[in-house]
Amino acid sequence: MEKQKYASKKGRERLSLAVIYTILILISLVWLIPFFLIVILSLRGEAAGMSAGYIFPKEWSFKNYITLFTETQFLRWYGNTLLVSLVVTIFQTIIVLMTSYALSRLRFKMRKPLMNLMLILGMFPGFLSMTAVYFILDSMHFTNVIGLILVYSASSAMQYYICKGFFDTIPKSLDEAARIDGASRHTVFFKIILPLAKPIIIYTILTAFIAPWGEYMFSSLIVGTGSMDNYTVAVGMWKWLENPQLRTAYFPVFCAAAVIVSIPITALFIWLQRYYVEGVTGGSVKG
């Protein structure tokens, strides 16, 4: 009797595990198939559109990749985007760290009002101010990569939230001990807090670096109205598909470009996954 019950329970657990595995495999398929499709479609050699109604190419070839690099300005757009992300990463990381440290550790009269101000500013749709920003940049002839860098970096301070949450968890006694030994605020920040903040620094770098690659709204306004030389990958690739006449011809090239854009970022992301997860889970729970 006892033994039978034990066995049936084990059987039930096995069944539920089997169900879970099935679901997980299904989920993984649903999540991976689109990316798999992008790769397959980018290797299609013949000129058949999406409406042809089959998946695997009749003729496998790297033709679309060759077109991408020789006949389009993709490489230039890629360079623009890379430049923007690298510079923005540096600026944004510095700005976020400075703001977070000031708001977490220093006590000054304007601290609370400042935090409220940023909260309120965050409630305005960011795009609202973009028209004005466009005119400012246009009057300085900055409707190019420089303008984009300025726009992305300038509002960085408002992303202090997660980083401040991290600084808040570092014990204050560390600061105080150093202050008693005669260290200045500046020394405390550089010698004590920053070395401890490695995970959150990596998180900030990672998110700052990835953001420009997927951003369309601001970049389409700032660089999308001018010369094609100034496009980022998002703007350029959007233009390929925007026009119904171009769409069929450019779709395989779009897929090839998507593969080229995604691979390095995904690799970077998987490599630094741990820090991303730490940042996301840490930042969301502390309200």
Partner: protein, 503 residues
């Protein structure tokens, strides 16, 4: 409700109780919010009055050096050998005067009209031909006069600091205390003034690229800047609340555009969308997290990595690809037709209702990895003995989920849920890259679409229609919606937090 009774409730019951009491308290918390306003105004008034008291004190108690610094900033400091500070104040004042005389004043003077004469064809005797001359550019007038106002405010602040600083330095001298030297001043920027060192650059960026443009667009909402008025050719003017009334009251404008019905439709859909997008992502993300975290499931890291990978791939890539897959002539429809499952394409993105369902489902696909991560982190923190005791009491997995997991998660992740909700109200990428807001709304003269959110409509009004003034009004309304909702929701999350800790 007695406290004891409250404590006896199950976690789920507690949540439900809080939920109900929040809505019961809603009217009174609104009243409390407005009641607090006079108090805050009084405080503001006190702070304001304090400024004048200080200035008055400086005028009464100050010696001639301090009084001179009312006109020549930093004079008292220079006279008392605080050279660095004194020179900085003086330089600032000179720069300000130069700016006002040569630049700021002429724009500020035109702020009332925003320019009268636009582009004019004029006979140029030197060239012997007609040339186009631009006189007033309304945009630049508005932009630079706002900038001038900002700079004037900064100047008044600096002037006040200067008066205070001069008086302080005088008081130090009278009390025979050592004045801080320039070296001390510099050093203080690594210590008690360190926040100024750290925050000056971030704030400068914020003022130029966020605060000034936001003010600018708020002002634009009160002008008639639209398709009929290009800033150089035909200057635009102040038009009071005209744009607000065309968005609220409605009617078809002179150029055959309709805004009020569109606004109502889009606002409603925006809120519905934000609710469903947040809710589906959260619940399903939690389910996936629970499945992966279940004891005995192997390759946890692999499952998680597969999902996390999709966060890394730039959103415009995956979303634009999806929109191509789901198009009427797209791969999915043509595959299904080839297999003979359907005879005509499913209108994933071209029928209003279907498109709305499609965007919510695709949003699940995009959002689950993220909410799964959040939930995983928290699930691991739920004490295992809670489940153990629930099992001993005979609770099955579903009951354990309803009684332990869900209430715990809701309790811990409320702030996250609120930010997600607010974020979804302004979720540009999903809608714009997937449907572009289409199919169009069935309203004559409307520029909106059935899947448009306020933010994508705002984008279209600005970029493709040139309806800048109306777009600004929509932006202001979006702000109001977001602000009201977050005020209400955050209030509630605070009350939950303060009232009790879970378990």
């Amino acid at each position: 409700m007695v406290d004891l009774e409250y404590l006896k409730m199950s976690p789920w019951g507690k949540f439900w109780f809080n939920f109900k009491s929040f809505f019961k308290r809603l009217p009174s918390s609104f009243v409390a919010f407005f009641k607090a306003i006079p108090k805050k105004l009084y405080k503001l008034w006190l702070a304001f009055a304090g400024i004048f008291i200080n200035i008055g004190k400086a005028a009464k108690d100050g010696d001639w050096k301090t009084r001179t610094s009312f006109g020549i900033m930093g004079f008292g400091l220079l006279a008392r050998k605080q050279y660095l500070k004194g020179i900085l104040y003086l330089v600032f004042e000179i720069l300000f005067v130069l700016y006002m005389v040569f630049f700021g004043w002429k724009y500020l003077a035109q702020m009332g009209t925003l320019g009268v004469m636009g582009q004019v064809e004029e006979w140029d005797p030197a060239l012997g031909a007609y040339v186009t001359k631009v006189y007033d550019n309304s945009l630049l007038i508005l932009l630079y006069s706002l900038l001038t106002i900002f700079i004037m405010v900064a100047f008044v602040y600096m002037w006040y600091q200067n008066v205070k600083g001069n008086l302080l330095s005088q008081q130090f001298t009278e009390a025979h205390l050592a004045l801080p030297t320039s070296k001390d001043d510099i050093k203080s920027y690594a210590n008690e003034n360190y926040h100024k060192t750290l925050l000056s650059i971030p704030l400068l960026g914020l003022v130029i690229f966020t605060i000034l443009p936001t003010f600018f667009m708020i002002f634009i909402a009160f002008t008639n800047y639209g398709p009929g008025h290009s800033p150089t050719v035909n200057p635009f003017h102040w038009s009071g609340f005209d744009n607000f009334s065309s968005v609220i009251v409605g009617g078809i404008s002179a150029d055959g555009k309709e805004f009020a019905i569109t606004f109502r439709e889009i606002l409603l859909w925006t809120i519905i969308w934000a609710f469903f997008a947040t809710f589906t992502n959260y619940v399903l993300g939690m389910v996936v997290a629970i499945l992966i975290n279940k004891k005995g499931v192997k390759f946890k890291k692999l499952w998680r990595t597969i999902l996390v990978m999709t966060i890394a791939i730039p959103q415009f890539v995956s979303l634009m690809f999806m929109s191509q897959l789901l198009a009427d002539q797209g791969l999915i429809n043509s595959l299904l037709m080839n297999w003979g499952w359907i005879s005509k394409p499913i209108p994933f993105l071209t029928d209003g209702t279907v498109a709305r369902i499609t965007v919510i489902i695709v949003n699940v696909w995009v959002g689950i990895p993220y909410s799964m991560l959040i939930c995983t982190g928290i699930l691991m923190n739920i004490p295992a003995d809670l489940y153990e005791s629930a099992r001993i009491d005979g609770a099955g997995p579903v009951k354990a989920y309803m009684k332990i997991t869900l209430p715990y998660m809701l309790h811990v992740t409320t702030p996250y849920l609120i930010t997600q909700f607010i974020g979804n109200l302004n979720n540009f990428n999903i809608i714009f890259l997937l449907t572009g807001g289409n199919p169009p709304l069935d309203v004559s003269g409307s520029t909106g679409g059935q899947t448009d959110l306020l933010i994508t409509w705002l984008y279209k009004l600005t970029v493709s229609d040139g309806q800048y003034a109306v777009a600004s009004v929509i932006g202001i309304f979006t702000f109001i919606v977001v602000a009201v909702l977050s005020l209400v929701l955050y209030n509630r999350s605070k009350s939950v937090k303060n009232e009790e800790e879970f378990m």
